[in-house]
Point group: C2
Chain length 431, copies 2
């Protein structure tokens, strides 16, 4: 738990560096998996499942019947929780779908407009194994459905007996899952990126995963398959003033730290007292946590920064560009307007990151590793793109033909000019 | 000019393959440039300008005075053309900026909303040399300005004497250029991605370029700098029925073919007569083109496909996912609604690609190489991102705490649960 007092802005960039991992050997492994699946398809996929997941993959896709019978076994409590989270996420995600803009005439006879189109085929990756991420099924499946994606493949590694937990089946049913690939890791990503006899090839792959999954997604880009965003370990920054409650702040930091030993945890505070008491609370709360070992490891890389004033704390957050930013400060709404770089922001003392992870409705698939400077969190936009259109009348084209002539000439592209001139070649009045 | 009649859908994917280039040796060269600029900054940049651009870079940035005095020398005709293109592009780009959505309460006391933020620092690349792309200055600079980007660096290789053409200076002035880096190629991209004493480091790099620029942009991503989109050679597909005019179609195909020897040109038509006459027109028009050699080379990779009906032609276009799609067909508006995968679409006989390249108002920075399946063309969105917010009251958090409990438990993340429970620990009524 490194503590720094009023670091100068010139040091912020260095303080914001996340640990760098060398992925060279990983990339060679990934290339091998892709090449094998490209030549041997399902057979190669089965071999990798056997060696990496330690299972005999008698079936690659989950039959509809197995999904339905699995879902039936979810408890009433589990179903109610999934239902409530589904409603919240659906309401929030659909509210952020903006209407298509009206067309404009940039000149009389020159009409220009944009239309949104769903991406046709997407693959969603749900990390799994012993603790499958039920919430991620909702976070990915709901916006894909709202966008109107025609074909959704959901890949997740099953339990050792090849089944999925009842609550996971129920969540998959909720998002209307039709094709569920029972595989994880590099092999699942490669199968969706390339396509096999059993697994449809997709246009884009979304979802979180470990370093193997991340490397396999990056590789997918090199063969023309898009991905949602670059990824790194999860992270939270808390900005706390004297109105914060140390036990809450400590719990928020720990909920991030338990994700993995490489999780990033940062506290920026204006109060010496809050800093001291939060550290005490961390020690106290750690004792009862089942994943205390993981959290302890993550806390070794944590950063505690004391600022004299709230302003540099906000500026520091914008430099760090955290995935999650909790504003445990007075007038959090005002402060939030000055946040430029963050994935998801939590205002006040009763908005823990856990709320956004599961049930407030915001998406939990967010840019890490400083990418919130340029990327948005996952949304319906991630499953759509815009197509731009224009329709010109003959007079409309004539009205901009002089402009095209000058610009095409300046760029030495005469055929661009001719494509306009040929359309007026037979006219008495040439352009 | 390969001609195919009614290809079966099973062959479309293969027909849609673009030529693949091996970039391995390029990538090593790029890595070398990055490493040198990372250690030697401006000195390395100057060395690369000397060796790659063959100039002595006495100045790296264009002084404001030089920009102003250059712009003064633009002719009245040039200024009028830039002004008109500016107005059209501005009007179209700003019309596509959608208002921020209203916040929603996903439960009483659980408020969720999204706010748009400009990306803070961007680098725009303008290919140049003998024929600088004046239009690209507008296509990149205008949306960056509308988005509210705080710092825009525009990089372009100058003429051999280190100056920029008057029309280019005028266009730069129009978009409010403040920092103009007089360099091109890998060295310009690397300098903006890393930052040097003279060149500010940027968060994102946008703009077209040759294979060196593309490789350098891809490398930028590996060090945390975003790019607008993957890139490949430019391409056009024309869908023509019997109402098309062969001389127009030929001119449109040639205007794409003159871009570069690797340009992709595809005609899908339902009319044998149009096909035959278009080929004749291509031969005729080629004779008078200054860049006939380039166009001729590009035409060798072109594809002419004859379909019995318009429906498979549209489906084929969606499989091919062209950068530019011209619909020279009757009822083009109806047909356009069935286009799913294309960057920019041109309707009817008087909407040549040249219109969109310069002055209709749509952006000409578009996804190539099949990426229109998943990417949109450049827009104000390319210079912005969304930040997501939530604010919960204590009762709001209480209302979703049961859901968080069940889901966090199912995922084995107890600290996530504790971050909620601690907030009600002192209450008589626990959650």
């Amino acid at each position: 738990m490194k503590t720094i007092r009023n670091p100068r802005p010139s040091t912020w960039s260095a303080l914001s560096q996340r640990p760098v991992k060398d992925a060279t050997s990983l990339n060679e492994q990934v290339a091998g998996v892709y090449s094998a699946i490209a030549s041997d398809g399902d057979d190669a996929l089965r071999r990798f499942i056997a060696s990496f997941e330690g299972r005999l993959a008698d079936r690659l896709l989950l039959p509809k019947k197995a999904l339905d019978s699995g879902a039936v076994n979810a408890t009433a409590k589990e179903k109610a929780a999934v239902d409530m989270a589904y409603e919240a996420i659906y309401a929030a995600q659909v509210s952020q779908v903006l209407p298509e803009p009206a067309s404009v005439f940039t000149q009389p006879g020159v009409e220009v407009w944009a239309e949104r189109r769903p991406i046709e085929k997407v693959g969603l990756y749900i990390p799994g194994g012993t603790a499958p991420l039920v919430s991620t099924v909702l976070m990915l499946g709901i916006p894909a459905r709202i966008a109107g994606v025609r074909q959704v493949i959901i890949a997740t590694p099953p339990l050792s007996d090849g089944t999925l937990s009842p609550i996971l089946c129920y969540a998959l049913q909720k998002v209307g899952a039709e094709t569920v690939l029972l595989a994880g890791g590099m092999q699942a990503i490669a199968a969706m990126a390339i396509g096999t006899t059993s697994v449809p090839k997709v246009d884009k792959i979304c979802g979180p995963g470990n370093q193997y999954v991340v490397a396999a997604k990056q590789y997918a880009q090199t063969i023309g398959v898009a991905i949602d965003m670059p990824a790194g370990p999860s992270e939270v920054m808390v900005i706390a003033d004297e109105t914060a409650e140390p036990s809450f702040v400590a719990a928020d930091l720990l909920s991030q730290a338990e994700h993995g030993t490489d999780s990033q945890v940062v506290l920026a505070t204006t109060s010496v007292d809050i800093l001291r008491r939060t550290k005490q609370e961390i020690v106290r709360q750690l004792k009862v946590l089942p994943r205390a070992d993981v959290a302890n490891q993550a806390l070794k890389n944590s950063l505690f920064v004391l600022f004299d004033d709230i302003d540099p704390a906000i500026e520091f957050a914008n430099e760090y560009a955290p995935e999650h930013l909790i504003l445990s400060v007075k007038q959090a709404r005002d402060v939030s307007r000055r946040v430029v770089n963050a994935g998801s922001v939590f205002l006040g003392n009763y908005s823990p990151e856990s709320a956004g992870d599961y049930a407030s409705g915001t998406n939990h698939t967010l840019p890490t590793n400083g990418w919130s400077r340029t990327y948005s969190g996952l949304s319906v936009d991630s499953f759509s793109k815009w197509v731009y259109f224009q329709e010109l009348s003959k007079d409309g084209l004539r009205s901009i033909s002089g402009t095209i002539d000058v610009l095409a000439t300046s760029e030495g592209l005469e055929a661009h000019n001719q494509a306009v001139k040929v359309r007026f070649a037979g006219d008495k009045r040439n352009v």
